[in-house]
């Protein structure tokens, strides 16, 4: 099971995402932003970081990278894609997911171990969780506020496409405490928190994040 991890200039958590894939039992495949080729991977992770320095808007330039051409096509065709933090921003800019991410309402970067609730265990990336399960995963961002108009928000809620929600104090002003969403089909998921930093004991607040990666591998096996 080969999972591609894209590196844009400025990507930071690509190494960590690759490590998480390995821990989950998969084979990480490094995908270069400038290479318009997915190399036949079974799933793709767009990692966290500051691609292009967050110039213009987070993810605004990365979404036009050559690799995004085949990625968008493959995603529309059902390829599992997980966008983490900056990756989530890229997915929104690329219109694979609705809404946008704006500056935290506190205007401060926040790094903390965040309580979350998995509200949809039916997506490609959350199959190993139970519906309503509470987990702890690190959150670290300056531009993590999820916003969308009411129509979009109602649609997401109504269709069960809010995948993960913040529990406790809202850390960044995200509307409806939304921490992660999916597309209609459930193969594309955007997440603000960083599951790749909760896959190894000691090096994170626990291992709750690992199941995001084992979920997609299970899905690939049974596909």
């Amino acid at each position: 099971m080969r999972v591609g991890v894209v590196t844009f200039p400025g990507s930071l958590d690509d190494r960590d995402a690759a490590r998480a894939v390995r821990h989950a039992g998969g084979e990480p495949v490094a995908l270069w932003h400038g290479d318009a080729d997915l190399h036949g991977v079974d799933a793709v992770v767009l990692p966290g970081g500051f691609s292009y320095g967050d110039y213009l808007r987070c993810g605004a330039i990365a979404r036009f990278a050559p690799v995004m051409g085949p990625l968008v096509d493959a995603a529309r065709g059902g390829l599992p894609v997980l966008g983490i933090c900056n990756g989530f921003q890229v997915l929104c800019e690329a219109h694979l997911l609705p809404g946008a991410l704006v500056r935290n309402d506190s205007r401060l970067f926040v790094c903390r171990d965040q309580r979350l609730r998995v509200e949809n265990a039916g997506t490609a990336w959350t199959a190993e969780f139970g519906d309503g399960e509470e987990i702890v995963v690190p959150l670290k961002n300056g531009e993590g506020g999820y916003v969308a108009d009411d129509r979009t928000l109602d649609e997401l809620e109504g269709e069960g496409r809010v995948v993960v929600r913040y529990v406790g104090d809202n850390p960044n002003g995200s509307y409806r405490d939304i921490a992660g969403i999916s597309n209609e089909r459930g193969n594309v998921v955007g997440l603000m928190p960083h599951p790749e930093h909760a896959t190894e004991p000691v090096f994170g607040p626990g291992t709750d994040g690992l199941r995001f990666f084992t979920s997609v591998l299970r899905g690939v096996l049974t596909a």
Partner: protein
């Protein structure tokens, strides 16, 4: 050589924490008559020749494709830079 100015502002319904912070700071500094602030972006695009209507149309397309995110921003002005406001 010509220049096109593009102004991008956050949509009215979008929370603008930076604008809010700027307004609070102005108030603290005694600029009491300012009741609200919204913070946007201004781009200056350099073009080789004169700024024609075609050039402006291209600039608007560029603004809508890359310079702004239509989900949260509006392109509020696309104009020749030399036109004084």
């Amino acid at each position: 050589m010509g220049r096109v100015v593009v102004d991008v502002m956050p949509k009215p319904e979008i929370l603008d924490p930076q604008g809010k912070a700027v307004a609070a700071a102005l108030s603290r500094l005694g600029f009491d008559h300012v009741t609200g602030v919204r913070q946007g972006k201004r781009f200056e695009l350099e073009v080789p020749g004169e700024v024609t209507d075609e050039v402006l149309a291209e600039a608007r397309k560029a603004a809508e494709t890359l310079l702004s995110n239509p989900v949260i921003e509006d392109v509020v002005r696309v104009a020749v830079a030399d036109e004084a406001p």
